[in-house]
Amino acid sequence: MLPRIIKETFLRRKKWVAVVFLAVLLGASLASSLLTVYGDVSGKMSRELRSYGANILVRPESAGLELEVGGISYTPPSARVLLDEKELPKIKTVFWKNNITGFAPFLSVLAKVNNETVVLSGTWFEKTISVPQLAPRQFANKAAATKEAPTFTTGIKAIAPWWRLQGDWVTEGDLDEAIVGAEVARKLGIAAGDRFNTDYEGKSTMLKVAGVVTTGGFEDSQVFVNLPLVQQLLGISYGIDKALVGALVTPESKIVRSIKGKRPDKMTPEEYELWYCTPLVESIAYQIEEVIPGAEAGPIRQVSEAESSFLGKTELLVLLITGAALTASALGVMAAMNTMVMHRRREIALMKAIGAHDSQVATIFFLEAGIIGLSGGLAGYLAGLGLAQLIGREVFGMPFSFSSIAFPVTLALAIVIALAGSFVPVRRAIKTEPVILLREV
């Protein structure tokens, strides 16, 4: 009986059903597009944060004076202050050496490829180094004394496990291969296996694309090669701009309040010991400075903190807009359902006169609203997906990926809008007195 009544409502009250549907659709599509955009943007951003994997940046002490934009040094090569990559293995000797997951050096130049300027970054992909035994004697085990120095494999592969690579890694030591960022590959129209020519100050190098990397971050617009190639281009035998270090650290919030934010030279000996022996990003950076002369090491966490607070604010904004949109849409549902109830007063009165219970009348209207809500939610989700693509293209200049959470959330929100908007009209419906049936003809 119920399906019959509801079917007739949909057939006979098309106009108001359509209005309710539209109200739900508008709210749901906005909610769904914001969810998709927000989910994707925050995903991309936190991916970018993680893309450092690395949480400590090691630079030459005086590098602060250099002109650097977007991680690329614009200082003329002759004036550049560089670190010696041969010092890097010492990072594996600090107090918290076992917390160091990896590190990679970087040396970049701006090269030309087909008249496009690209960043050519020299680095280690997967390099095995031997760890110097500088640790105090009491920590060195007997085996180490007799055996040859232990080795450690590091490089981009170790600190950037999120790199999505199409093709292969560059073989360590192979100076003819490169990993090309997705953006560069797209611009130049090249793929894994292709060859391309780079030009730096008249020195041209033919490179083979080993793989194409996608990270969603700055890597997408760079070309990565083995470090010695860039050093050759610059005419130097050693030297790097910076190194990124990945270390497992304890959040600062875990440590005692009194030493939070204190500089090591201002601490009491007890505080200093506690601080030094806690794997904080600052204390590990400090220990790295201790082992690499002329280096300045600092957490790159400030960036992520700024970004996470930005994310928090964006989240609030998205929630507010979504909330306002959903409220407006629920009000629209309410107005339309109210009109529908008004138009059906006689029908309701008749149902009640022949014995319909309040809950049975309410069920009819809530079910109708629920069905419209569900279909409005479905349509709204699809419309929102389209809207999100539009926003992605027009505002962010990139397409958004499908968000799996947006679908169920949008459907649930749409049904909630439809039911919440029907609440007042349904109350009105069940209050209808059956006697009006006899009075109004």
């Binding site: 119920l2 007739e8 009640k352 006169a353 014995g355 219970h357 049975q360 007195e433 006697v435 006899l438």
Partner: protein, 221 residues
């Protein structure tokens, strides 16, 4: 009134908008299984009285006791249940749901009462002579056929009390006879019937005729 009183109306008055006195201290007892006609000139309060008995409307003063229960004291939910369990309503304007066919209209009353049973609904319509009109929409039925569908709907849940407001008012002679035969059958089956009518021929069939005038009972015969 051999087998007890079903409806006991005591000092019932009804004022519309606080001044129009539609009923003035009515006292009336109706026995179980009795058939009572309410007659009188237009505006004398017949429909008002019937609406009060059927709980569609509440009296301004006085008591209405049906089957021992003071229906003035029932709350909203209990009134709905009372209407559903005890009363079958037949209207002058039929009031079938326009978008449901005859069979579905009968099944709707079953659905609100308990569960829809198509077979039972079909039999009810066959009893009122609409066995070949089950799938007709109300607009495809004649007035007499609509009234018979309405009667089938009123009787489907076996109500103790059947209330009808001018059930033959919109019918021709032949259909009036058909409908009155159904009322006589209901009466034989033991339903208590209260019927409002202008028609002396219809009134004659009842056990008693109550004449109203200006909201008061002028005579009972």
């Amino acid at each position: 009134m051999s087998n007890g009183t079903l409806i006991d109306i005591k000092g019932v008055s009804k004022f519309y908008n606080g001044k129009v006195c539609a009923l003035d201290k009515i006292n009336l007892a109706i026995g179980k299984g009795e058939w009572v006609s309410i007659m009188g000139p237009s505006g004398s309060g017949k429909t008002t009285l019937l609406n009060i008995i059927s709980c569609l409307d509440r009296p301004s003063a006085g008591l209405v006791i049906v089957g021992g229960a003071d229906i003035g004291r029932l709350d909203h939910t209990e009134l709905t249940r009372f209407r559903r369990e005890t009363v079958g309503l037949i209207f002058q304007q039929f009031h079938l749901v326009p978008y449901l066919d005859a069979l579905e209209n009968v099944m709707l009353a079953q659905y609100f009462h308990s569960i829809a049973d198509e077979e039972e609904a079909r039999q009810a319509l066959e009893r009122v002579g609409l066995g070949d009109r089950l799938r007709h929409m109300p607009s495809q039925l004649s007035g007499g056929e609509q009234q018979r569908a309405c009667i089938a709907r009123a009787l489907i849940n076996q109500p103790k009390l059947v209330l009808a407001d001018e059930p033959t008012g919109n019918l021709d002679q032949k259909n009036e006879e058909l409908v009155m035969e159904l009322f006589q059958a209901m009466h034989r089956e033991g339903h208590t019937i209260v019927i409002v009518t202008h028609d002396p021929d219809v009134g004659k069939l009842a056990d008693r005729r109550v004449y109203l005038e200006h909201g008061s009972i002028r005579s009972i015969e």
